[in-house]
């Protein structure tokens, strides 16, 4: 079977890879957007925290025999706690300054984390076995679907929509949205805004770590995995604009798919397609697809 002269199996598998990449873009840009909404900083350490997630899961399995499912829950909590620590000890001191200092601080933190992991584990990738329950695959007729890859998409979408639901439909989310609009007023109404900020940063970081654990079995676990990804995610964020939660999710998935298609039709451009789209969006709609000016 062929579509546009391309074998459907090839098209299908590239679209699947695109969707998987898109899932990671979605979770990561979602985390960035939540953090940006309340803290007004761009968390440059997001990529490093994603890498930490993957590494902690890998260490847990190889050194302590802790299985994937435990790691999937525990790792985001550990890395999230690390985020809370960073926010309490360092980021907090910068809120009154120009927001660019937050970017610079988190950039420094990213370098430290990456450097330590590189020193400990080198730059060669470590592999992480797919958990038994999700090993193997199913044939969909036109293509072969490895179950783990399907699981990534399901898990990522669940977390993304769960987060959306929490922010848009729950009381905590209402506080969060109010805090994004006008923190002073929310504080005056008796909500503990500093605590809310700490929680938000921790949650955003935990999302990054969750993506890291999901990624461990499909990508090589290596200290540089985060920094490669995060720059693309920045472009995704510029394209989508950080104004809307659903916008981040949709943009992330969409760009992953477009990237996958580019790999089929014009592979040379696949590494730059997201940036090219960013340029076009900047020219046509500078605020981003879902952004508010």
């Amino acid at each position: 079977m062929e579509i546009f002269g391309i074998p459907s199996a090839l098209l299908g598998s590239q679209l699947l890879i695109g969707l998987i990449n898109g899932s990671f873009y979605a979770i990561l840009s979602l985390g960035l957007a939540i953090i940006f909404g309340l803290l007004n900083i761009i968390n440059f350490a997001h990529g490093a925290q994603y890498m930490m997630g993957a590494f902690i899961a890998w260490l847990a399995l190889t050194k302590f025999g802790i299985n994937y499912w435990v790691a999937l829950i525990a790792t985001p909590i550990i890395v999230g706690a690390f985020g809370v620590f960073l926010e309490r000890t360092m980021l907090r001191k910068l809120y009154k300054l120009d927001h660019l200092y937050g970017l610079l601080l988190t950039f420094g933190i990213a370098l430290i984390i990456e450097g330590i992991f590189r020193d400990q584990f080198g730059i060669s990738g470590q592999s992480y076995d797919v958990p038994e329950l999700l090993a193997g695959g199913v044939s969909l007729g036109f293509m072969f679907l490895p179950i783990y890859r399907g699981w990534i998409i399901v898990a990522a979408l669940t977390v993304c929509f769960g987060t959306w639901f929490m922010i848009e439909k729950t009381k905590l989310g209402a506080y969060l949205r109010a805090g994004t609009e006008n923190p002073q007023m929310v504080q005056a109404l008796g909500i503990n805004v500093p605590l809310l900020i700490t929680f938000t940063y921790g949650y955003g970081v935990a999302l990054a770590a969750f993506a890291g654990v999901l990624a461990a079995p499909v990508f090589q676990v290596n200290p540089l995995m985060g920094s490669h990804l995060i720059i693309v995610v920045f472009a995704v964020v510029v394209i989508g604009g950080m104004g809307s939660i659903m916008g981040s999710i949709v943009t992330g998935l969409g760009l992953g798919l477009i990237e996958g298609l580019t790999k089929v039709f014009y592979p040379e451009a696949s590494s730059v397609i997201v940036f090219v789209i960013m340029v076009i969006v900047l020219l046509v709609r500078p605020a981003g697809l879902f952004g508010r000016t």
Binding site: F36, I41, I42, M90, K93, L94, L97, H99, L100, Y101, L103, L104, L105, F107, G108, I109, A110, L111, I112, I113, E114, G115, I116, R118, D119, S227, I231, V232, F234, A235, V237, V238, E268, S271, V272, V274, F275, V276, M278, V279, L282, L283, P286, A287
Partner: protein, 320 residues
């Protein structure tokens, strides 16, 4: 700083004395220090000073300046090696290409401000990185090797390290002078006004975007000068010069030396290059960790940077 007398303080604060002293120091430096090391310092000092023109005076944080440094290096290298032009033309070519790229990047990036501006420049620079990696002419992962230093104006053989040093020194002084003049011109004053209060600058009738764009292009062009010169010195253009680590490094140099001070970035550049040179062999991959730690320390503890802190100290001492 305490033991200095009032007389020496006022002498140090006098720009004419200060710059003459530094100029002479630069002239005699290669007799006591390793010239290649000094040339590297000068290239990065110029790079950081050019970067500071944008961040320190226009308030725009670009996270993509490696693209200008690196691309100019490749252009200069290709012109020297494959076209066979003289070094001054090679540097000029690099500068012009970087300036044009800066104009292009600037046109896109100034459509947004603040954090978005930083992310856009980073993404554009990453695109350049991938292009450099894929184009055949740039040598991919190996970089561009075997670039000849050539004869300056067709006359002076630059394979002599001293001749090369004074060429680099002249380029640095010229670049630094351009930056100095830009900052102290009416144009520079308007940049500062935009940095301090953009809406007000707009309401005063200034076409803010035009000023930002010009500042971006000048900064990019001079970064290109630094990159092209660096290629001549080391006779290679490497992929690491277009990598985002380099964009981060120039931010660090500027921040460490003193954001918005005139000499700060050069001091910061010299400091970082020295640290890297000293540590590269002894600590290996801990260099990244140390750089990160300096970053964190600069942001949290001394945001004025080295030169900024010294200025503040001198001011305080002068007031007593």
């Amino acid at each position: 700083m305490r033991p200095t007398t009032l007389a020496s303080q006022s002498a140090l604060l006098n720009p004419a004395v200060l710059y003459t002293t530094l100029l002479v120091l630069g002239l005699v430096a290669p007799f006591t220090l390793y010239p290649t090391f000094l040339m590297k310092v000068l290239c990065f000092a110029l790079f950081a000073s050019a970067f500071n023109l944008l961040l320190g005076f226009a308030g725009l944080l670009s996270f993509g300046h490696a693209a200008f440094l690196g691309s100019a290096g490749y252009v200069c290298g290709l012109m020297m090696r494959d076209v066979g032009v003289t070094p001054e033309l090679g540097i000029l070519a690099g500068t012009v290409v970087a300036g044009l790229m800066g104009w292009l990047f600037g046109t896109l990036a100034i459509r947004r401000t603040g954090i978005y501006f930083a992310m856009i420049t980073l993404a554009l620079a990453q695109m350049v990185y991938f292009l450099v990696l894929q184009i055949k002419a740039t040598g991919g992962e190996d970089g561009l090797q075997g670039v000849p230093r050539g004869h300056l104006f067709g006359l002076i053989d630059l394979s002599n390290n001293m001749a090369m040093y004074y060429t680099v020194y002249a380029v640095f002084c010229l670049g630094f002078f351009i930056i100095y003049r830009t900052i102290h011109s009416p144009f520079g004053q308007i940049l500062k006004a935009i940095r301090e209060n953009e809406p007000r600058a707009i309401s005063l009738g200034y076409d803010v975007d035009k000023f930002k764009l010009l500042a971006f292009a000048i900064s990019a062009a001079l970064s290109g000068t630094a990159g092209a010169t660096k290629t001549l010195v080391f006779q290679l253009a490497s992929l690491s010069d277009v990598h985002w680590h380099m964009s981060g490094e120039v931010v660090l140099m500027t921040l460490l030396g003193g954001l918005g001070t005139i000499l700060g970035p050069a001091v910061g550049g010299a400091t970082i290059v020295t640290i890297e040179n000293q540590l590269a062999e002894s600590v290996g991959s801990w260099v990244t960790v140390i750089m990160g730690a300096i970053f964190v320390a600069c942001v949290l503890l001394f945001r004025r940077g080295i030169v900024g802190e010294i200025q503040a100290l001198l001011k305080r001492a002068g007031m007593q």
